[in-house]
């Protein structure tokens, strides 16, 4: 009996002293966080492009797995991705950087490329991906970066005695809508 009265007292206290409160409002919550992250970088010197006096057969490529999209919340709530690319090219040669996002079967989900001019030391490029337009992008599990050194106009090759650097950097900003 005491327990019943005690609970009734507390219930009345709570119910009678609370005005105009609606907890269902939380269903209307929508947050839009965005997270920036470094992605893939690479540095190439003249020694990486020339072996025994011969320019390496290009393109050269490297691939890395990543598991970010294993998380269902990330997959479901991602709405947009903006990639930022920065390239520092000291070579007197043009490069093409190919970026491929691949699913588990290595089928491309998104492809883009960067055309870097000779001696361009401030190259930047931005890629804006709306997930609604590229829904398979969230199936990506691998990233492949391909470097292609375009032939010179005069047929010359890179001089290994002249130090030079090609630096590629990438980052992404991932936008989410969380309901």
């Amino acid at each position: 009996m005491r327990k019943i009265l005690y609970c009734l007292f507390l219930s009345l206290l709570f119910m009678s002293c609370v005005k105009d409160i609606d907890f269902d409002q939380i269903d209307d919550l929508t947050l839009t966080p965005s997270f920036s992250a470094a992605l893939v970088n690479a540095t190439l010197s003249q020694d990486d492009l020339v072996l025994n006096g011969i320019e390496l057969p290009l393109p050269i490529e490297q691939t890395s797995y990543f598991s970010v999209f294993d998380n269902s919340t990330v997959r479901d709530d991602l709405t947009r991705v903006v990639f930022n690319f920065e390239v520092f090219n000291q070579f007197d040669r043009e490069f093409i950087i190919g970026l491929e996002f691949l699913d588990e079967a290595f089928v491309p989900t998104y492809i883009t490329s960067l055309n870097v001019s000779a001696n361009d030391m401030n190259f930047t490029q931005e890629e804006d991906i709306l997930i609604a337009n590229y829904p398979t992008f969230v199936n990506s599990r691998n990233i492949r970066v391909t470097v292609t050194l375009l032939p010179s106009d005069d047929g010359s090759i890179i001089d290994v005695n002249e130090p030079a650097t090609f630096r590629f950097e990438s980052g992404g900003t991932f936008y989410f809508t969380v309901d």
Binding site: L13, K19, D22, E61, E169
Partner: protein, 460 residues
């Protein structure tokens, strides 16, 4: 799931926004339970027995920086807008503190004119957690908007206990001016979660050799728990296990309360007390974890040298992280200090109904009708001592009816008015204490509110 958790937290706040840290009860000497706040208090009963489970019901939830109404008022304002505003308005040291005590048994007996002994058994839930504005901003907005900002792991502080307390105390009148007291407490821990003293920071900035650079610095964090996980590290809050620890179980501790009352003269008195100077040692159903290290991530570096075979970059990154960040789990026994509380007060009594004793006047009262004073309370929390300053006025309406009005300033409110009344009706002492009275009609808009009540059987 997350929404239900958030609603649950705010419901608890709403229900619990009934209780302060017993500022009205402190020094209210007509209520025997005041001895739990000052063992050196002066009780003039011959003996008392608390009505089991009804002698002292007190719940205390305080949240600084926000109220239930801030978010859930039905005011046609978009909920997301309200949440953004609430998080923006949080301070760096906002926190929530919950304390619930239910007396199971409380009794006292006067051995002689100078000595009053008392004891009892009560259950307590005490939880403190800081509200990490930093990390809430990170979760709400992401790191893109906060390049170069350090998010501090030290803002995470949690200390929560569920326990029972078996206590026995004595109040001893040394002379006409001084009464001292002490209370020994035996704690039996039921559940504990502790994560304090954490260090480290996380920051994202534009990189010198990358687009972004992520820096995890001086990470040193830990969490300890008892009662939540079984030997297989599965979440298992077991009623049988809790009951077995409820009375002199595996998780034991000792604590001490001391206090005094000093009469400078007939009208002025000073009191002070230290409560819960003690600890609990946890040994049952333990699961602890620590994480330490530093790491800087600027992106995966693809290696094109000599067109080598593709390394497993992702595995290399994970190996790098494992090497740099040391994560460990253990089941080591640990001890946790109880939150120590300090109380101090000065009280000046005045205004007798009749100024002079008169043998023929049956209306003469040998007590003062009024008293004014001030109290200072402090609880030691993981983020440091938290203070509350209370001014009060006591009015004795009759020999057996006492009232008290308080005004308190603390972390939660600058306009907290409280009211207490204690009445001895035949052999029954009944008391009710209400805090933050002006917010009672809208508790959801209160950062703190309090209702405490109790019934004791008393004998003069």
């Amino acid at each position: 799931m997350m929404k239900r958790f958030v609603i649950g937290v705010f419901l608890l706040i709403g229900i619990s926004a009934v209780a302060q840290h017993q500022k009205i009860l402190y020094g209210f000497n007509k209520i025997p339970q005041t001895l739990l706040l000052n063992p050196g208090g002066e009780i003039d009963y011959k003996y008392h027995i608390g009505v089991p489970a009804l002698s002292g019901v007190n719940t205390n939830v305080n949240v600084s920086g926000l109220t239930v109404a801030d978010l859930f008022r039905d005011d046609n304002i978009d909920f997301t807008t309200k949440l953004i505003g609430v998080v923006d308005n949080l301070g760096d040291n906002d926190y929530a503190a919950i304390n619930t005590q239910i007396e199971i048994l409380n009794a006292g007996y006067r051995l002689n004119d100078k000595t009053y002994i008392s004891g009892g058994f009560y259950t307590e839930i005490d939880a403190f957690f800081s509200i990490p504005k930093d990390l809430l901003l990170l979760a709400r907005d992401g790191n893109s908007a906060y390049l170069n900002r350090s998010f501090l792991i030290s803002k995470i502080n949690v200390k929560a206990d569920a326990l029972t307390v078996l206590h026995a105390g004595v109040s001893r009148k040394i002379n006409e001016k001084m009464t001292v007291g002490a209370r020994l407490k035996i704690y039996s821990g039921l559940l504990n979660l502790t994560s304090t003293g954490n260090q480290g920071s996380f920051r994202t900035r534009l990189g010198a050799n990358s687009v972004y650079e992520h820096i995890l610095s001086n990470l040193d964090a830990s969490v300890q728990s008892s009662g939540f996980y079984n030997t297989d590290n599965e979440f298992d809050v077991d009623g049988n296990s809790i009951r077995s620890n409820a009375f002199l179980g595996s998780n034991m501790g000792l604590g001490l309360d001391i206090g005094f009352t000093y009469h400078a003269n007939e009208q002025t008195e000073f009191t002070a007390s230290i409560l819960d100077f003690g600890y609990i040692g946890y040994k049952d159903k333990l699961r602890n974890a620590t994480i330490q290290g530093d790491y800087v991530f600027s992106g995966i570096e693809f290696q094109y040298e000599n067109n080598q075979v593709n390394p497993d970059y992702w595995q290399d990154l994970n190996d790098d992280l494992d090497e740099a960040i040391d994560e460990e789990e253990n089941k080591d026994e640990y001890s946790v200090m109880r939150p120590i509380k300090l109380n101090a007060s000065v009280k000046h009594s005045f205004g007798k109904s009749r100024r002079e004793e008169n043998c023929t006047d049956m209306m003469y009262n040998d007590y003062f009708d009024n008293a004014v004073g001030a109290q200072l309370h402090s609880t030691f929390r993981p983020i440091g001592p938290r203070f509350a300053l209370t001014g009060f006025y006591e009015r004795r309406l009759a020999k057996k009816i006492n009232t008290k009005v308080t005004y308190t300033i603390d972390d939660f409110s600058y306009a907290n008015f409280g009211l207490g009344i204690s009445a001895d009706i035949w052999k029954i002492n009944v008391y009710g204490l209400v805090d933050n009275v002006f917010k009672l009609s809208d508790i959801a808009d209160a950062s703190t509110a309090s209702v405490q009540f109790g019934l004791n059987v008393v004998f003069d």
